[in-house]
Structures are given as C-alpha cells and as structure tokens.
Symmetry: D2
Subunit: 399 residues, 4 copies
C-alpha cells in the first residue's frame, strides 16, 4: 500500500469535538503509514499560503501523535479557523501575494473573486492526496467545488445547529445542549427566588434545533426561527406556567432568529464612530414584551459562545473519534466525495453537500405551534439524538 | 377513552435518568387523563404493601406534576429501590404480614419462596391497569413473569452496563461514561506529575461495556471480564506507553470482573466479627503486578458509585424523556409485554426480556485482544453510542 | 434559658450560600431550643403579611431540620426574596390590606411612604425576639432602622460585589468569581480558535470587585466603574496582548458600570409599546470600539445571572455555615445590632451598616490604572480573599 | 538592580495550584528582569542533574511567559515531582553518576546517604541566587538544611492536609475539600435511593483536617486519626441519623488513618510474587463493622487521588498567585529563609519549617469527640478557611 498525504482543516465556527477529529485522523493515519498535514485557519490556509512554500508555519503544521496527544481534552480547534470561502473573496480579502492582473482574471462578480485556482495550486505544491475538511454547510459545500475539480475529499460535518443535510448528527450539537441545559438549570434558583420569567437566548439564526432540543431537555417553552408566533399567546402561556409552578417562575428559550408576528429586530441607536449600528437583542425585546403584557418581572440571559466552549460531551467524544477513524478507512479504501454521517442512527456516509442543498429545519412533527414547545409525542422511530432521520433507502445522499 | 391507572417502580441499582422516566410518565399520563401511582422500593412495594391497603405511605405515593416537577434534575430514584425478586425470596426476607402457612405453600426450593400471588393480590387491590417497571435484567425478567400471568407491562431498561438484550441502549450507560471520563481526565495531571501507571477500576462483574467505552473515549488500555489476558503482556504495553508518552505516564482501566490468566480475586484476611471476609480489590492487585513487573510507580483508583451518581447527561436526559413518552403512548395504544428500546439507532420497542435471555457481552469486533484496548476500526454501521446493534428484521425481540 | 423566637429573611438579589445560612441558623437554633420562623419574600413578608395572622402561608413558614435539610445544596433562596424597602414604598406597592387613611399618615415624600409601623406591628404579632436579615446594603440598612426602633437584629451580609462596609467578605463573592472564571476559561478555546478579542461583561454598576478579582484569577485586563479609562489605550494594550499571545487572542473584562472617557451608555431605539427604551450593552459597545480601533475581530459575552446561579463554592459553604452558627451564639449571648463579618481575616462581627455608610470601592492599591488590570504587587497584609481589610483597632465598625 | 537567577521546584505529592505558583513566579520575575529555571522532579533535579551540566533537559527547563502561559488551568505540576530527600538517600537511589568512593564519604547511617554536597555543587553550577521550593513538610524542611548551608530560600507551602506549621493555609487544601464535597453530594442520591450508610475514605494518615472540614461542609459525621473512637457509638449515631433522615440514609467520612478502639488495619492476604502484602481498606472494614452492628446496608467509597486532581478552585487560584508574587517581592527585597504564609487571615510569611517542627493537628476545639463530627460552636476568631490561626505576635515563626 502506497503512503498517502492527507491535509486536514477546520472551517467556520468552532465546536467542541473538532480536536478529537484532528487527533483521531492523525493517530489512525499514522498507524496506516500515512502523513498528515494540518492546514491552519480553514480555507485561508490554502488561499494565503506563501506561494510555493511547503513550510509556511503560519498556515502549515505537520501532525503527529506527540503534538496532537492532548488536544482532544479541550474545545476549540487547535488548527484555528476562519470563514474564508475561496469562491467568494472580496478584493480586500485577497491574499497579498496574489498578482493583481491574475486576480482580475478570477473576478466573478461585483467585488467577488473565485480564487479556486490558487487553492488547487497550493494543494499541488503540498502534494496532498486527500483533504479532510471539518465544517458546516459553507466549508463543506466549498469542498464540493474542489471535489468537482477532481480533488479527493472526505468531509466531516460539524455545527451546533445540527442542520447539515445528509446526516442525523453534526459534531457539536450535543455539547451545545449539554452547556445550555446546565446554564438553564443553574439559573432556575435565581429565577425562582425572585418569581420571574426567564428568557434565554440561544444561537440559531435560521435553524431552531438547538433551542428546540434544549427546551425538550429542560421541559420549557421555546420559540424558533422556523415559526412566527403570537407573542400575546406566549405571554399567556408563561403567565399560566408561572401561576401553576409551586415556585412561581417560568422559562422560555428563544433562538436568536425567532421573531413574533409583527415583531422586528431593529438596528438601534446611532452609528458609532466606525459606522456600525447595533442590533437589538431579541431576548431583551421579548422579555420587555412579556413584562409589559403580564406584569411579571422578567430577566433575559444570553447563552451564546458558552455553548461552543469547553470540552466535548460524551456524544461528541464518541462521534468525533468514530468519524475520524471511519474517514481514514474511507481514504484507505479509495473513496472520495463523501461526508461522514449518522444515518438511521448508525455510522455511515453521504455524498458531499452542495450549494444547492437547503439546510434542514424544524417541522411541526417536532414543534408544537399551539403550545410553543417541543412535541413529546410521536417520538417512535426518531434517532437517539432526536431530529430528522436520514433514510438510507431513498435519500439523494445515498449512492 | 377510559382512564387508566398506572403503577411505576424502579428496581435494582439506581442510575441517573430514572427520575426523568418517572416524571415523564407522570406528566404525559396526566395529559391523557390517566392516574399514576408510585410504588416505592421496587418489587418490595408490591410484596410488603400492607395487605388490602391503598394508602400505605411506606410503599405508595400518588404521582402528579407538582411532586415530580424537580426530580429529574438529580440522579438516584425518587421512589427508592431494592433488589427484591418476588420469585426468589429467602424466608428471612418474606413480608412480616405473610401468613406462615400460606408462605409454605409458595415454597419453591431450599429457602426459596415465589410470592407472586401476593404481588398479584396487591396489584388487584391497587386497581392497577398497567405496571411500568424500570430496571435491568432482574427487574425486567420478573415483570415477564407478571406478563405471563396476564398483567399489562410496559418496561423501561436501565443499567450502567448496557447489557440488556433487545436494546442498543439502556438508561445510565452514557452518564456512567461521562463520569468515568471526567474522573480519569482529572487524574491525568497527578498520574503524569509523578510519572506513574494509573489503574482505574470500573463496576462490571460480567460485562465490560462501561470499561470498554470509557477506554474508547479516553484512548487508554482496558481489560474486561469477557477476555482473560496475559498480565505480562499488559505490563509490557503499559511500559511502552509510559516510555513513549512525552509526559511519561500510562493508564489502564479494569472492569471489576476482569482477571488475568492465572490470576484470582481471593477473599483476604480473617473473617471479621460478623463472619465476613473481604474480597481483594482487583485494581490494587493489578497495580501491584504491574509495579512488580515494570518497576514503575503505580496507583489504583476506584470509579464505582460515582458512575451512578449526579445528574443525568444529555443522552440520558433525552432517552429517559423519550422512553417515558413512548411508554405512555404504548399504554394508550393498548400494547403490553413490551420493553422500550433503541433499535437500529432509533426509538422503538422489543419484547420483554426473559430469564432465559443471556446478557449481551463484548466481542472481538469491539475489543482488540492483542492490544488490550478498544478497536477503533470497523465502526461503520455501529449505532451512535457504539456497541451492538439490534437488527429489527431478524431479532427474536421483534414481533 | 428561656426559649427565643427568631425570624429569618433574605432581601435583595440572591446569591449561592443564602440557603446555607437559613439551614445553619435553623439547625443550631433548634439545638438550643429556639424556634425559627422563615419570613418569605424579604421585607415584603413583614409589610404584606395578612394583618394579625401568624399563619399566612404566603409569607410565613416554620423552619425545622426536615424542611431545611437539603436546601443548602442549591443556590437561590428557599425563602424567596424581594427588593421591598418598607421605608421607601411607592403608593402602588403598598399592601392592599392597608387602610388608606392610615397610609397617608405614613407618607414621607412624593409618592413615598415609610410603613415601618406596619412592620413593627407584624413583628409583635409574630412574637419575634430576634430578626436575622440576610442581605446587602439596602436590606441591612433597613434592619438598622428596626434596631433603632428597639428590635433585636443580628444581620448577615451577602452580595456578589463584596462592597458592604464593616466586613472583608460578603456571602456570594467567591462563588461569583468561581462561575466567572469557569466561563472565561471555557470560552478561551473559541476566542483563540478565531484569534479574537473577547469582551466579558460582569454585573457591577458601582463596585468593580467582582470584575477585578475575576481578572486577577484569569490574568486578564479589566475596566471598572471606579476609574474612567482611555479606550484608545485599552485597545492598544489588547492589540499587544493579541500579538504576543502565541494563540493570538486577548481578553478584557468590563463591569457593567465601567465607562471610558467620552463614552456613554445610551438608551437606544424607540420606546416599545410599554414605554421602555433599552440600554445599550456596554460590552457590545466596547467590543465595537476595539474592533474599530484595532481591526481585530471581537466578541462580547455576558456573565450576569450565571454568577449568582448554581451551588455555593467552598468559601461560601464555609462562610454561610460559620456566620449562621455565630449568629445564633450572638443571639444566645443577648447581643443585638450586630452584623456578622470577616475582620482581619477572621470570623467576627461589626455594627449594622447605616444608610450613611458608603459602599466600599476599589482603589489604586488594587487596580493598575496604567495597565488596566489588577495589581499583583503589594499583596502582603491583604486578607486571604484579597480586597480591603477591616482593621479591628480603628474602624468605626468596632465597639 | 542586578539581575537574579531563581530556581523553582515542586516536591512531594502534587496538588492543584502548583502550576499557578510556577507561572506567577515566572511572570513576576520576568517583569523584574530576573531569570527563572525550572528544576524538574523535585530535589531529584538537584541530585541527579548531569554533573557540570546547565542544559540537562531531563532536569532543567528555562521558564518564560510563553511556556508557562496556560499551565495554571490544570492541576498537577508541570515540573513533575518526586519524594527524593537528598539527606536520606538509599544506596539504590543514589545518582548513577556519583563516584562510589565519594558516595561512601556521605554515608550517614545504615543504607542512608546525605548527598547535600552534590546538591550544593549543582546549585553552584547552575548559578542560582535563589531557590523557591514548593512543597510540604518534607520538601520544606530539606530546604531548611540548604538555608542553614547558606543558600537563599523562599519557600511555598502546599499540602492537601493543611498541616504545615507556621501558616493557616497550604495550597491544595480548599480544592481537596471542593472535590470531596462534590463527590459526596453527587453520591447522596445513590446512597439515599437504597437507604444505605455511606462510608467515605479520605487521604490523611496523620492529620484529619481534610476529613474534618469536608464533614463540616457536608454536615456529616467524621472520624480522624487524632482521636480513637468507639465504633459501637459511631454505629448508633449513624443508625439514628438514618432513622431520622426523611430519605433514610447516613454518611460518615473516615480519614485513612482513623482507627477505632480495638481496631487495626492489618496487612491481608498472602504476599504476591513481589513480596507485597496488601493493607486492608479502612473504609471497607468500617462499613463492614457498621453493617454488622446496625443491620443497615452500607457502601464504601474512596476519595483519594481525585482530591488532588483537576483545576484549582478559587481559593487555590488566589493563594497560588498571591504567594508567587509575594515570593518574588521577598527575593527582590533580599529576604531569605522565609516561607509564604497566611497569618491572622492575611498574606505574610514565617520562618522555614525545620525537621523538629511537629505537624499541626486537629484538637477538641474543632472536633466533637462525643458526636463524632466537627464542632460548629466557638468559630468566632477562626480564620476564614477555619482551622488554627497563627498568631503573629507570639509565634516562634515570627522574626
């Protein structure tokens, strides 16, 4: 068996579990006699690499058992990350080493450059046989472009929102709920001591899975981006919860992207010296609405970066190590263009997501639009970690 | 729809998540207009209940939203538990209210009484339409006897060992690994600071799943009851780990029931005043062997009751609430003789375990008998939480 | 020794440790043969009590070993709390049972009523020999009024800000730092993975102790209400930290009340339907300033209610139990008008705070106004938990 | 001001907080323009250093901001530790590079060598102006020998047992209690669910402080090495606790060195192949005694290495950073022969402990020999973290 040279990178927002994948791929690949190169700062590592260099320390680090031994005990990504998308670069973000004339040949729109040729050059320089990108929709759909250009890709899905098509689970989702649940359960005592309504805001502009399943676990109300709601009705439900709870408090979780009918998240205040205006905080606005409508004291609490912080929980430890090992087996088997996945509750793989795939979203089989809370009925047949199941028989992700 | 009266009880060792099932069943049943009676101290509640009483506070508590509202935030079982098996009672354990003559009619062996008739009397007195027993093999296989006697049973599997037939997951398994992993990761600093070999002992007389998957998560060696091993070989592997680790330490996990070839867990010391002799601690013996063979400093650390302590982790929160809700739906649908289960990675149900079913055990597809560690290859097709999968097509648990 | 009847209440914001005081007083008092009555919802329990009632369950609960046994394992206050100050009631907040004419006789200013006579009546009805109020400046200075009116008071200081005069330590301070430190250390991985500047906001409108000593523990920059600062200078310091840190990130903690020179926390946006306008979040504004000045990516994270949530840490467990037991000993000894305290690093007591006492604040011996961080020099002679020491020789709190 | 070269080392058992001292000394020393050399593996670093070497990587590491930046977030000691005492070396432990003849000249007893001259040679080779040893009685009293030989020493006390003379607090004590408390509180649910008596064993052969103050915090019984006890009386107390607790359980903590009257911790079993016999576990023996005497079900649980594992708690973070900074100030001020200390509840320093100093131990002002539990009375005047206070006026440690 010939040796192989694998590049690995992390793109987009970090989640606990990324380092487990990096370590797992490194350990398993070394057992098989493969080399692993860490590419730093996501796709930026392949756009901004010093041209022709195989030793640019800013963007490259050879990975081995010794330098990855302890990384899986902490969150974040040891390779660092960026949101660079080589297909949609702004002029101001182009690599400084890029020739201006060459750059203009890659212009694909108003202040928009597709510098994939640079990425392919760098991959060639580095002699990579495979790339293992770890990321969400953006990172993975760019890897699809490289796949289309002939590059060998085995991808790993991660996102706190659990909304990538083709898999029932993305790394980071369980830990996000673990953190959110801990924070909400801790804050019950202060909310109850003052007989308040607590409004918790959770990351999630478009998908409500994290808010929904945190609410499932904590048995609280929640509002999510997929469904506009009647804020008066929510206020009534919370007032009833408050009255019926023997400790006289109530809790609602709002995704940052959840808006009530007639509501709007405005930019507020004057622009600062740098031209930025601030977005109102949806939890603060909602807390104010609830107070106004019910007369109850309210507080709002933001659960944001903490949900992607700290060590991975047991699910993310298991999944990150399993995905890593299966990824190397897929590489050994010569497969390409595949994304690791949980399908039918089991470890498997799907085709790479493409830009055309829409993200998964919550539907009414999971969310009770009357009660503004998760549904607890009809769970039979759901995967262990709940949410949608990916049917291996009929899905476009098979084959 | 006529109302129903549901009895719920917990038997055997407690695990985090039991209270989530109790609360979940109570909440959902009340939504459906059913009554729920908590039976205290496992099957003892149905053997020792004051005859004819429906209000014996020692053994009965009506459950409602108010008294179960906060119980799911802690481990243990709010209903308390016992290891009482009504089919195998010793004379000394018979209910004091039981008539001696009547008792002798139930004698089934040398100091062994099957007082199932008492249990059935008490069920009749309480007017229970359904019993929801939550437990492991012992508790559930007794419920099978009641099922055979015509009682309506919907059972919920729990056990830290994850070794109940017919389900890929039992409540408590993930939390046990969460606790074990946390303890081992915490103790790495002290083991490393002194350049030691750390030997961790984990509950598990017959099944090695908890030790195995803790080792998987922490990437350490492990020895388990299913496979006798060569202690000299283990010592060599650990000495190599110790030498190659840049912080100069090594870790091995031993199930309490794992013995090396030629090894034996003796009773040690003289009997105490009450006639008890003490079993040697396998971790202590193994640590001593390793020290003797390698010259390395060793410590041994017991991870026992802590693995079943504290609040449930996210998996056990999800599974306990899902099992509870599906259980009530099965009751509403008139099903009987079923055990909640994860099958093919999804929520479903199986037939009740019987006494003839053998517990599940670790096989060589999961455990590397050469390296004395979990296998990281061949994970494709495994359930999310690893271990065996229950094939819905061919299993005797279907139908 | 005649028996005594002790009333206990908690006022103002809750902190972990309050329940430890309630339990500790109850246990110790019962050992001494005293009765303990829990007064619910702070001073509101003594203003809104049903006139003449000794059994108003909304506001009274007899305390004993059984009902306080487990309360010290969680945060919050089992007696609930309010911000009611009987000396400064608004008309709309007056007890509904209060006669209008009588009320007018207690008017002391524009929409301001001092209903201390009602409080004294209720104390008489309840037959209380002693009141043990647990609270911060507001709660305790009202107890001083009762003391001046002849009531026997032994008070216990609590506040996350640690700014009560006459004691080196207030219950809740250590736990707040424990929580803040944990959150910041968890979030380092996400801040570092994206090479950002993290801005953490911590409760504290007037006193910067919590921000300061969290910064001390985490070795980060901080800005506090006591000192206006040059935001350009802060941006430069953070840019340097960011450049010199091998993981390329930097952290600053801001008290919610810390403003830079020329800065202002405006109300932003239009008034909502209830007439409220929202205050800008100082961390968001500061993050924006730093981004504008340095070009570095920034995030802001709020550490607010979480700091008063969850179980008490070891310091707050020790102090709450010790204060409780000494409080009962002071009662047994017939002392009155005293507040429990740490003085010279030891358990002791001071006179009750009065409205004239100014809160303690951070000075330049603790805070480095050049480096915008805590001082690490000159710690000799400070109390174990740092901050000011209360000199038993010269303080007005002695005697 | 001339530069200084400081050696720093950690000896004996590790505790959380050691790395905070190492980092704190390094940061502060660098600000002052001093050099810091990490000496690895305690005093072994100064006995086994390659003779004449200033670059022996096994035993030396130059410390700077970059390599100590993150070490304070974990327990253990980044410099590793050993129990080497250069004054009491066995022949088999002598450095292999040591000339046999020279060695014999240092023989001070039966298989006992005092190789302090080697240590002094190595110190001279390394050009150290100061040594900062961090350790307990053994480590510190050896530093006293070096002090007597003219070396400049500023020592830092650490020990889980909090029993070093001359200071009210040793690093590691609070974290040990934090860990023990968490474990006991977690295990309450399993002990209660089965209505058991839980026996917890805690490190402490000679001093009972850790057991005592864990019992104080958890309000449980405890038995300690300082006082032999009547095991029948203990059994009765626990049976009463069990009966009176509404959840029917009881807890006792035993120091590993606590023995009842007539009790004995025997070596048990036959010697293994390496000649070791095993000591019986005191918790197991005690649990068996209690079961025999009361008929109650018992469990025993060992809290040993976990108490010195994990990150330091807030007290140990504060104290480690404060001790480190004051240590460097003492060095800058030319002081020598001092040990950092908490005295009268404040940061200060004492003379170095000597071999003649006896360890501090628990007395009857802290321990209730009738009730077999901590005393909750007479706490007035105790230091914040309880225990003995060191009176700065009269102590032999002053001056």
């Amino acid at each position: 068996m010939a040796t192989k040279r694998i590049g690995i990178l992390t793109g987009g927002g970090d989640v606990p579990g990324l380092n487990g994948v990096i370590k797992g791929v490194t350990y398993r690949a070394h057992e098989m006699g493969y080399e692993v190169v860490g590419i730093r700062r996501g796709w930026e590592g392949l756009t901004h690499l010093k041209p022709g260099s195989t030793e640019d320390e800013k963007y490259l680090i050879p990975l081995n058992r010794d330098n990855t031994r302890t990384i899986d005990r902490t969150g974040g990504t040891w390779l660092h990350s960026s949101r660079t998308n080589p297909r949609k670069m702004k002029k101001s973000a182009l690599p400084p080493t890029l020739d201006r004339v060459k750059a203009e040949s890659m212009k694909v729109g108003e202040d928009r450059y597709d510098i994939t040729p640079i990425v392919l050059d760098n991959i060639a320089t580095l002699g990579l046989d495979y790339i293992v990108p770890i990321g969400g929709d953006d990172t993975l759909s760019y890897s699809r472009s490289l796949h289309d250009a002939g590059m060998h890709i085995i991808a790993v899905p991660k996102t706190m929102d659990n909304d990538v098509q083709g898999t029932e689970y993305c790394i980071g989702f369980s830990t996000a709920i673990t953190r959110a649940r801990a924070a909400i359960d801790r804050q019950r005592s202060t909310i109850g001591s003052h007989e308040r309504v607590g409004v918790f805001r959770i990351f999630g502009r478009d998908a409500g899975f994290t808010a929904l399943y945190t609410a499932f676990a904590t048995m609280t109300r929640c509002v999510i981006p997929e469904f506009r709601y009647d804020v008066g009705h929510l206020a009534e439900l919370l007032a009833t919860d408050h009255a019926e709870n023997s400790s006289h408090y109530a809790i609602v979780i709002t995704s940052e992207g959840a808006i009530w009918e007639g509501g709007e998240i405005k930019e507020v205040g004057e622009a600062d010296a740098f031209g930025h205006r601030h977005k109102a905080n949806v939890a603060e606005l909602l807390a104010s609405e609830i107070k106004g409508r019910t007369g109850l004291d309210t507080i709002h609490s933001d659960l944001t970066y903490d949900l992607r912080a700290g060590e991975p929980d047991t699910v993310d430890v298991f999944v990150s190590k399993a995905f890593a090992n299966i990824a190397v087996e897929l590489i050994a088997g010569g497969q390409r263009g595949r994304m690791l996945a949980i399908r039918d509750g089991r470890y498997g793989h799907s085709r790479l997501p493409s830009q055309e795939d829409t993200a998964v979203s919550v539907d009414t089989s999971m969310y009770d639009v009357e009660q503004l809370r998760p549904r607890y009925d009809g769970l039979m047949g759901r995967p262990l970690m709940l949410g949608h199941s990916v049917d291996s028989m009929s899905s476009p992700f098979s084959g």
